[in-house]
């Protein structure tokens, strides 16, 4: 194992980690901050990727340009999902957690079915985007451009989310709604509006991730499943309630994955991620930076 | 005979904040002792230390002639410390009777026996009519009574009551006072926190006043209310005049 291999591994791990962070940032808002389980997170990502693909295939819009469009579309989608489904799930008095898990799990299945129905199970790829397949080589270390862009978008998304949550009235209202959804009405906040916006925003962030992902990942109805568990672990590892935690969680997951693959058979590389999660929560039951 | 409960130089710190500092109190068998003091004085914290929710930062707690400082809460319940929570913690998805049965199961594993005991306690606490209602449907004052019933079902030697008689009209408070007396008459020692002087004064044999985490004074209720320190820190002028 040469030094170059190790540096390249760490560099790839870091980029991958930021990408995991990007995928998890929407979840960090919905699951981490609003404390609502979304088992359809992977499927949100999937439709965002399809949206990017179709914008590319039919209108030749590059993923980088379509990212805002996809984010906007997903915003609407997220808000609708909240209003139509999740609103009722969070209202459940008994076993609210399980109801959330299974209603969104059902949604995930429906979304996969619909994707298969309308888009066929074919594997799609965005073939000639501006940055797709391009790579930068710095002293023998290769940094693929789409992932670099993903990393930048991830950092931007986290900074924006951080300020949004910590510096705006809406952020405060969101936190208050999570703390006590029944009590926000006492100060005139419509919890459904706040949560619908929160879901919209969370979904919009997934939309960004999907657009970036579409530059270099294949697309098919089940593509979300590959990322969903990692996204949950990322958010939990960083700690619920902490935007920064999810960001750090993503980076750690990426680096741990890369290092595990260096020392163990690559087929076991996720074991490294899972083991680190367990170690962290056994020592710190609220994750690294969690407040809940 | 030794005291039933004794705290020896107990401290509790919460990252910077000192909630209890060097508290040494003792409660004799069969007494009703009132623990009073301003909001935030550390009364509930002291209850938590006695009941074993937290280990004290420093100091030791003796119960029934034994050092229980290191025992977990469940074990202390077995030894005979029963408690209520200021912020009520009912088992919301269980019925009232089932809530009480959980308590009764400390003393017996025969379900029939536990159920009998639970009925008895509910009768005693005046909740019998609500036995089959879900705990979540009780109004706050009933929930507090359920806390008491549950604790009584564990057949405690010492009962810690944290503001269970608040929110009652004076008449209802009167029944509450009677209830506590009857509890004592069954041989249970009572340590209670209460802010309503109309209840504390006639009920307790002795009062301990905490302020800023320390014992300010202790003594007979009638003497305590005349104490200027207590008036300025806790009672306010109106009660000073009234008492």
């Amino acid at each position: 194992m040469t030094a170059e291999t190790i540096i390249q591994s760490l560099a790839s791990g870091l980029l991958m980690g930021l990408l995991y962070g990007l995928i998890a940032v929407g979840l960090a808002l919905i699951f981490g901050l609003m404390d609502v389980v979304n088992f359809a997170h992977g499927e949100f990502l999937m439709i965002a990727m399809y949206a990017t693909f179709f914008l590319f295939a039919f209108f030749a819009i590059d993923p980088l340009l379509s990212a805002p469009l996809v984010a906007a579309a997903l915003f609407v989608f997220g808000a609708v999902v909240y209003l139509v489904i999740v609103r009722f799930a969070v209202r459940a008095k008994a076993n609210a957690g399980m109801v959330q898990i299974f209603s969104t799990f059902g949604l995930a299945i429906v979304m996969r079915g619909l994707a298969q129905f309308f888009f066929t199970p074919d594997y799609r790829s965005v073939t000639h985007s501006w940055f797709g397949g391009k790579t930068i080589s710095v002293g023998g270390i290769f940094l693929p451009q789409p992932q670099l862009i993903g990393a930048l978008v991830a950092i931007a998304a986290f900074v924006a989310l951080y300020f949004f949550i910590n510096r705006t009235d809406f952020g405060r209202a969101l936190e208050a709604t999570r703390e006590d959804a029944g009590a926000v009405a006492l100060v005139g906040i419509d919890k459904n509006r706040v949560f619908a916006l929160g879901w919209g925003l969370g979904a919009a962030l997934v939309g960004l991730a999907g657009a970036i992902m579409a530059m270099f990942f294949y697309i098919y109805p089940d593509v979300g499943a590959s990322f969903a568990l990692i996204a949950y672990v990322t958010v939990a590892l960083g700690g619920f309630g902490s935007v920064f935690g999810a960001f750090a969680g993503g980076i750690i997951v990426g680096l741990v994955e890369a290092t595990t693959a260096l020392i163990m058979p690559p087929s076991l590389k996720s074991v490294g991620i899972y083991a680190v999660y367990l170690l962290v929560v056994f020592v710190r039951p609220r994750g690294l930076f969690g407040s809940m | 005979m030794t005291a039933l409960l004794e705290t020896r130089g107990v401290w509790q710190r919460f990252s910077g904040l000192i909630a209890n500092s060097d508290i040494s109190i003792s409660v004799g068998r069969g007494e009703i002792v009132g623990l009073i003091g301003p909001n935030g004085a550390g009364k509930s914290t002291l209850f938590n230390l006695i009941a074993g929710v937290l280990p004290p930062t420093q100091g030791s707690i003796w119960f029934d002639g034994e050092d229980v400082t290191r025992l977990p809460a469940a074990e202390r319940c077995v030894r005979g410390i029963g408690r209520t929570f200021q912020v009520v913690k009912s088992f919301e998805t269980m019925t009232v009777i089932d809530n009480v049965i959980v308590g009764a199961l400390v003393r017996t594993t025969v379900m029939r026996e536990a159920r009998r005991k639970a009925h008895e306690v509910l009768e005693f606490a005046g909740l019998a009519a609500r036995a089959d209602v879900m705990a979540s449907e009780l109004i706050p004052s009933e929930k507090r009574r359920l806390e008491v019933a549950r604790a009584l079902a564990t057949e405690p030697k010492l009962l810690l009551l944290d503001e269970v008689l608040t929110g009652l009209t004076p008449i209802e408070a009167q029944t509450g006072v009677e209830l506590v007396r009857r509890v004592r008459d069954t041989g249970v020692t009572v340590l209670m926190v209460e802010h309503v002087m109309e209840i504390v004064m006639p009920l307790v044999d002795r009062a301990i006043v905490l302020d800023l985490g320390k014992v300010l004074v202790e003594g007979k209720p009638a003497d305590i209310v005349r104490e200027p320190k207590v008036i300025s820190a806790y009672l306010g002028d109106r009660h000073a005049v009234g008492a």
Binding site: - | T95, G103, L105
Partner: protein, 326 residues
Amino acid sequence: MDTAFAQRRRRDLIVAACLAFVAALVPLFVRDVYVQNIMVLTLMYAALSQSWNILSGYCGQISLGHALYFGLGAYTTAILFTKFGVLPWFGMIGGGLISAVIAMALGYPCFRLRGHYFVIATIVIAEIALLLIQNWDWAGAALGIDIPVRTDSWLTFQFTRSKLPYFYFALALACIAWFVTWWLEDSKWGYWWRAVKDNPDAAESLGVVVFNSKMGAAAVSAFLTAVGGSFYAQFVSYIDPESVMGFQFSLLMALPAVLGGIGTLWGPALGAVILIPLTELTRSFIGGSGRGVDLIVYGTLIVLISLARPEGLVGLFSRRRKGAVR
């Protein structure tokens, strides 16, 4: 005293006995093996979900990693049988015991975790186990274990065409899981579990040793789940890591209980009776199109049921017990 309560419990027992009896007669009239297969699966899921319900429904420790115990049961039985010639009955007990021990060993660190942290830990642990077995050549790795078909016998618990033995075993398993739940429900453990679920702090103050309660629930739950896994290995006579330890499987074990009524005596059985035939039939009769219509139907039903009846379908049956009317 409290005859209403005793009556209700007796009624539950009688209803269960009658249902079991009727169920036992069904295969005598329904000869179609496909339908019998669905019935076996239904009973198996009822048993599994009932077991899951003990830890997650009654004790409130939501596990989405029960595939681990299922897989352990299946693998223990299959390995003992194919490699050491040990009869599956011993594998069944052995797998159950191993699972119970592992459940407690894992519970030791995990039961300190709360909420989502716990749920994710269960998922992740099952996933680690899956990956390890997937890479463990001795245990067949991805190739899985193919249990050779010998002659039909109760000793080896193998039957070529007849589904009846499997059916009756699954029925017995479901009945046992139900009965264990029924029995524990009105026992110290049952009360402790529900108390721990509702409010661990209050439970602790009433003498409930919260940690031990969780351990007990985990052990019983894991044992029964592993027996289910062991049965599955015999029934399908081929196991591979993905099909017995996959995450989807953990969800499928929880789903009947959630739809039927989590933390209730009848919920898992009711959920399984509705859900499993539905799953199988949608796949068989609308899945052939390759267009995902079965997924759409199945998913929509899950969403609708979980939203319309968050407390579970048992809510449809139980008349609300009214408090004293003022």
